[in-house]
């Protein structure tokens, strides 16, 4: 049972991180559909760094940096050149798929050491919960810290209020004197960092070797999770665990030989995403104040 819950948690962490980052990006009014691409580049960057430098911790840093790099490309085009965010985001994923395929070719067939678990003194000795909550790896702790941080940040810090203001009405934010483009750059890069680390988690913990397109749609599911969570950070945890659970359930099903074809089981996370979106969207369309009002709209500043 412990082991099962641990794998569910591990499966949900890339989703959790990527969705949290995208939530911050979207709160600033930027819709970055390139999460899948940023995760892929995080994964390949992490693998490369670990093979080159040895320690898995370098993988985390490299993953984050690769994500930021991808987010910067997205930012230059959408924020500075005011391109269509939907199309640019798609372009980013397509670009990153190609780039990581190229960069990952020399890594094929090599495996990396897994990210070590860190036991928290005393707490890890608590029966059941200690095993699940306090014997995790660094990224798992980090992702919980990020969620707690951004919950506080968005609600109580002035910078957080400014971020929400920029996503709510960029023209007003400009009038009040905030640098809209700069703030969006930061928010998008934060999203890139989270997606990159989330992507890094896949080779560092889940499957320790490179394969083309190894994120398998997790970036898109993360995007759906933001909608599912109605842009409220803690709900992402719930959503990510549900998706982690569904993914593991299909693996368990395959392992135990349930009389359902494996492909049909593998569809579950994708179908669940559609169902989740459907349930939530019906509600959101009636109360659309949860969606950042300038989401996806390019900002042109007259000077």
């Amino acid at each position: 049972m412990d082991a099962l819950i641990l794998t569910i948690i591990a499966t949900s962490i890339p989703l959790l991180l990527a969705a949290t980052g995208e939530l911050i990006t979207e709160k600033s009014g930027v819709l970055n559909l390139g999460v899948e691409g940023m995760m892929l580049s995080g994964a390949v960057g992490a693998l490369g760094a670990v093979l080159w430098l040895g320690s898995p911790y370098f993988g985390i840093i490299a993953g984050g940096l690769c994500g930021v790099l991808m987010a910067s490309i997205f930012s230059i085009f959408t924020i500075n050149f005011m391109t269509n965010q939907v199309a640019t985001g798609l372009g980013l994923t397509i670009f990153a798929t190609g780039l990581t395929g190229l960069a990952g070719a020399p890594l094929v067939g090599k495996t990396v050491p897994s990210l070590p678990k860190i036991e928290i003194f005393l707490l890890s000795d608590i029966p059941f919960f200690g095993e699940i909550l306090f014997k995790q790896d660094f990224i798992a702790y980090l992702s919980v810290a990020i969620i707690i941080f951004i919950t506080y940040f968005l609600k109580y810090s002035k910078s957080g209020i400014v971020l929400r203001a920029v996503g709510d009405d960029h023209q007003s934010a400009h009038s009040v004197g905030y640098p809209v483009k700069k703030i969006r750059w930061y928010a998008t890069c934060f999203g890139g960092m989270c997606a990159g680390i989330g992507g890094a988690y896949i080779p560092l913990v889940l499957t320790p070797h490179w394969s083309e397109g190894m994120t398998a749609g997790r970036g898109w599911i993360a995007l759906a999770l933001v909608v599912f969570a109605s842009w409220i950070p803690w709900r992402i945890i719930v959503g990510a665990l549900i998706f982690g659970g569904i993914t593991i359930a299909q693996l368990v099903g395959q392992a135990r030989g349930w009389p359902i074809p494996s492909q049909i089981l593998s569809m579950m996370p994708y179908l669940a995403t559609i169902v989740a979106l459907t349930v939530i969207s019906g509600r959101i369309s009636k109360s659309n104040s949860v969606v950042p009002a300038s989401l996806g709209k390019p900002f042109f500043d007259t000077q």
Partner: protein, 519 residues
């Protein structure tokens, strides 16, 4: 109280120039504002008023020119530096964030650090002191327009400004709210704060201002002592020619034949930000103009959409054209029946900006072309069919175009509005419904548009005029009603209602009755 002293100059701007591409918004403007003075900035739409004050507030950067505050030159590079120099501004369309609370909205425009608790205290202190009551924990999206303006004013007052800029503050207020605002502004001025007040309403300026600077086509053409002038002189200086009065002869032609009727119409809002229409009853006769007054955001948009057919009625007999129920007809079908609507937004709603004039004509004419027995030409029903009609509209309505068949966004606001009006009126409607027809157009065009409305009712058509401009409503309407929070007041003939009453109705202070006036 304030002690009289020699006027000391607070802000002095010299040779301000600003252009956008080929368009010159400000040209060599000089202006100086004394301490404790209420200085009005008067001019038509597009005269460069907003550009100038945005430069003072650091939102725009001047191409050339200098600004001195207290006799020392300053560079106002951003709103933050404007605030540091003691300049505060209340924007025409506000700079508020609907999804944030009042306190959050105020906090993010504060440059000093403050604890949230202290902030709330300070807001309540200020709002008591200046009688600007708002709940700091409410979301701005839940506030009325008047309340939103209070938030903007409090936000400025938090900074103890030396100069308060107000961009067209009264366009969204009821007469009562306006007189309250004027009291506050006068009190502020007497406490030593200068006020730069932008308006195109002449009475207001005479009532409120000490000095008035008139802008025309980006240039400052005169600065006059406002206490020693009159509205006629101001108007003619502003426009640069004598103003022709409207020929109002309409009330003779009002008939007793009902053209359009709304009966107990209810419509629940579709989004959080919308307004539900509540039990609306309305009648308009042939030959009359019915004015619907009200503050923005009280259901005008929703009423307009239900009248036009863009949104569906809940019941077919909620709307009657003469006696025929048309509640389920869509906008194209209603056009065929002779109901034309002119929406408030000229671009992206009434027209597609990057489509040609012929395509924009086709937009509301497409159903005219299909012919029986001609499958091929019906299959290929396209904007080419509207070519001649669009040329006629341009010719008949004196629409000035930079080239033949231009894109809609190549036309100026006034010319685009002339085209939109011409496109509707060429269909010879029985009922015409206008929303804010003269919003943002210059006085010349506004006069000609208003004349068209009068002519329309003179020729026996029914006209509904939804406008926030009370002057316009009183000038044109035969009957008046007020929309407030999605409910419509009793409809009264213009002779039986005063501007004060309308103001009270607009603010929701008078009971609104849904009974129909039986005339």
């Amino acid at each position: 109280m304030a002690i009289k002293k020699e006027p000391e100059i607070l802000l002095k701007a010299s040779k301000i120039n600003k252009s956008f591409g080929n368009f010159i918004a400000n040209k060599d403007i000089d202006i100086s504002i004394a301490k404790g003075e209420i200085h009005a900035l008067l001019g038509e739409n597009g005269a460069g008023k907003s550009t100038l004050v945005k430069i003072f507030y650091g939102v725009l950067k001047p191409d050339t020119g200098t600004i001195e505050i207290n006799n020392s030159e300053v560079s106002i590079s951003s709103p933050n530096s404007a605030r540091k120099n003691g300049v505060g501004m209340v924007f025409q369309h506000f700079s508020l964030f609907p999804a944030l609370t009042v306190a959050e909205n105020i906090l993010i425009a504060l440059d000093k650090k403050i604890k949230f608790k202290d902030l709330i205290l300070e807001i309540s202190k200020l709002s008591k002191e200046w009688e600007l009551f708002v709940d700091p924990l409410k979301r701005v999206s839940e506030l009325s327009v008047g309340e939103q303006q209070r938030v903007e004013i409090i936000r400025c007052l938090m900074q103890n400004p030396k100069l308060l800029i107000m961009d067209e503050p009264t366009s969204v207020l009821t007469p009562q709210e306006i007189s309250n605002l004027f009291k506050i502004l006068k009190r502020l001025a007497s406490s030593g704060c200068s006020i730069l007040y932008i308006s195109h309403k002449l009475e207001e300026i005479i009532e409120l201002a000490d000095q008035v600077t008139i802008l025309k086509s980006g240039e400052s053409i005169a600065t006059i002592n406002a206490k020693k002038t009159n509205t006629k002189f101001l108007a003619e200086t502003m426009v640069g020619k004598e103003i022709t009065d409207l020929k109002k002869t309409n009330s003779m032609n009002v008939t007793k034949d009902i053209a359009l009727e709304l009966k107990d119409l209810n419509k629940a809002k579709e989004t959080d930000f919308g307004i539900s229409l509540k039990n609306i009853n309305l009648k308009v006769n042939y030959g009359e103009i019915l004015g619907v007054a009200g503050i923005a955001g009280n259901g005008q948009v929703e009423l307009m959409e239900i009248l036009s057919g863009e949104t569906q009625c809940e019941k077919e007999n909620h709307i009657l054209l003469e006696t025929r129920p048309i509640g389920f007809k869509n906008i194209a079908e209603r056009r065929l029946l002779g109901i034309e609507t002119i929406p408030e937004e000229r671009t992206l709603h009434a027209t597609v900006p990057n489509f040609t004039i012929a395509e924009n004509t086709f937009l509301t004419y497409f159903f005219k072309y299909p012919k029986a027995n001609n499958i091929i030409s019906n299959l290929l029903n396209n904007p080419q069919n509207s070519k001649i009609e669009s040329e006629n509209i341009i010719k008949d309505n004196d629409v000035r175009c930079p080239e033949a068949n231009p894109l809609a966004n190549q036309l100026s606001g006034g010319n685009l509005q002339k085209f939109i009006l011409g496109r509707s009126l060429a269909n010879d409607p029985k009922v015409a419904i206008f929303s804010q027809p003269t919003w943002g157009v210059d006085i010349g065009a506004a006069t000609s548009i208003r004349q068209k409305l009068l002519n329309l009712s003179n020729s026996g058509k029914a006209v509904i005029l939804i406008s926030q401009d009370l002057e316009e409503i009183f000038e044109l309407s035969d009957k008046i009603c007020v929309i407030n929070d999605g409910a419509l007041s009793k409809i009264l003939p213009v002779a039986q209602i005063t501007a004060e009453d309308v103001g009270l109705l607009m603010g929701g202070k008078l009971e609104t009755s849904n009974e129909m006036e039986s005339t």
